[in-house]
Amino acid sequence: MLLLARLKIIGHSMEPQIKNGETILVSKIPYWFKTPQINDIVAFKDSSEKILVKRIVKIENRRYFVEGDNKRDSLDSRKFGDISKDKIIGEIIFKL
């Protein structure tokens, strides 16, 4: 993963914060200086190496529980479980 990457969002699970079709900027640089925090919106790789974007809602034993903001319409840790830090490829730093 590059230090900075542009990601085009497909899906509705992060609405209203990030809408379907929007482009965001993700970076791993923030995590050089801090560990991922609750409420960070992160990009991470799932078991099939697909990049997903969700919000960290809980941290336990260095495992991160992520959920979509649009909880009625989101595939997230409620289904696939928590994720480890090494799966997180960066924090969403702003929308383009």
Partner: protein, 159 residues
């Protein structure tokens, strides 16, 4: 050059914010009904006549609200079909499909921002064409029928 423009040189990758319960239930019907509604609200706004300024203001607010809401439904339904249902092979088979989405979303936006019957009708034309492609991709035969709405336009069904 602005930073935003520089950032455009970064490679663009896809990330999923999935609803991702793969329900497989897609249908262009709602977009069609919403397109007819936008036409009808635009017609009513165009023809609005009243001697009562308070009532006129009230009617304009209500009609504009409904027009806005249904243009939003069109946009949402088309984006779902464009991003979630249609796959690369569809875009290869129907070469004009992506452009059709773009032009229809543009006319939807125009119909939303103005009282423009032509833009509203162009939106319906695009939605009907997308509906036809959708049904073809499902292996059924699309048919056009006259709608039963006061707009008088058509609907695409299938047999």
């Amino acid at each position: 050059m602005k930073i935003k423009n520089l950032l455009k040189f970064l490679p663009l990758r896809i990330a999923y914010a999935h609803c991702d319960i793969p329900c497989g239930i897609y249908d262009p019907h709602m977009a069609q009904v919403a397109a007819h509604t936008v036409i009808r609200m635009t017609q009513l706004l165009t023809d609005l006549k009243s001697d009562d300024p308070k009532k006129t203001a009230h009617d304009i607010a209500r009609m504009t609200h409904v027009k806005e809401e249904h243009a939003g439904i069109i946009e949402e339904e088309l984006e779902t079909l464009r991003n979630d249902y249609f796959k690369l092979e569809h875009y290869q088979e129907y070469a004009n499909l992506n452009e059709l989405f773009t032009s229809t979303l543009k006319s939807t936006s125009k119909a939303r921002q103005s009282i423009d019957v032509q833009a509203a009708e162009e939106t319906l034309v695009g939605v009907l064409q997308i509906a036809e492609i959708f049904y073809k991709s499902k292996g059924v035969t699309p048919i056009r029928v006259k709608s039963v709405y006061p707009t008088g336009g058509e609907m695409v069904l299938y047999k």
